[in-house]
Amino acid sequence: MANFFANFIENFLSIFRTKKHIKLGIYGPPNAGKTTLANRICEDWLGEEMGEVSKIPHETREIKVKEKITMKSNGKTISFKLIDTPGIATKIDFEDFMKFKMKKKAAQKRAKEATKGVIEAIKWLDDMDCVLAVLDSTQNPYSQVNITIIGNLAARNIPVLIVGNKTDLKRSNLKKIESAFPQYKTLGISAEKGHNIEQFYKEIFKLVR
């Protein structure tokens, strides 16, 4: 009976602790692991995947939304809408897709869809309440796409957590990301292997709060 009342009071209070309609966007260049991270979050908190992942760039070519993800930790609850966006790029060449043994027509279709996806991702920037900027920690962080994404978020005063993904790989260099964007909190994870994912969720609590 005591437990029942404790749970009741906890649930009642959590209504006031929960912020609703917060939009958490996942942004970054292609193949940084945005959808892998979205899948990790959705599997851990909803028990289902968000989207397909692939080694071929621009697998996610439209905005994908999970309406409500609720995270609970230490008696606190946060609830947000998770938005997985297509990778932002300055160039798209269908011939690059053909290197992955894709046929010409399919590659051209993918390229066309990918260009629309990039435009859509940029348009959605204005709607975000907070953003996870996912960067591949094995790649040079000083790319103009990274600078443009993070610069645009800063210009809009949108809180950002930089996620250096793929830290399980040997070439991973988180320090380089930290020195490229020293004014932001950077967290290294491996979305695929689940490394440092608990710390990542703690940071989401701070970001969405």
């Binding site: 160039k91 629309k116 940029i122 348009k123 103009q144 600078i147 443009t148």
Partner: protein, 127 residues
């Protein structure tokens, strides 16, 4: 052969964002690399990506872009003040922006202190 087109501040400083982007893309689509005095704002950079995506076709594959900006976050206040004063007087001329067509420029590597421009073997196609 690589063509570099210098775009001084007085050729783009007075233009609206849309006009500036249109001008840059027109040059780049003619297979030239733009060396622009000053930089685009972050909003203009995002707009440039949008416009580029709208124009991608079989011939035009997009752009490579890189900005080198001399002002650093840890610059002393006196230098920031001086730069702010120059900016007010002369316009935002600081920095250099390099924008090239993706069918010619394979990659622009940007380190804090240098730019490396990697080019492809140019195969010019008939329009």
């Amino acid at each position: 052969m690589l063509t570099l087109r210098y775009l001084p501040y007085n050729e783009h400083g007075e233009l609206s964002s849309n006009e500036k982007i249109r001008k840059v893309l027109n040059i780049v689509k003619n297979d030239s690399i733009v060396l622009m005095e000053g930089r685009l704002s972050v909003e203009e950079e995002a707009k440039l990506i949008e416009r580029t995506m709208e124009q991608i076709d079989r011939r035009f594959k997009g752009v490579e872009i890189c900005t080198v900006f001399p002002e650093k976050k840890n610059d002393p206040f006196s230098r920031k003040l001086k730069n702010g004063f120059y900016k007010l007087l002369l316009g935002n001329r600081m920095g250099v922006t390099v924008i090239g067509p993706a069918n010619i420029v394979k990659e622009i590597k940007r380190d804090p202190n240098k730019i490396e421009l990697l080019t492809k073997n140019v195969r010019r196609r008939r329009k």
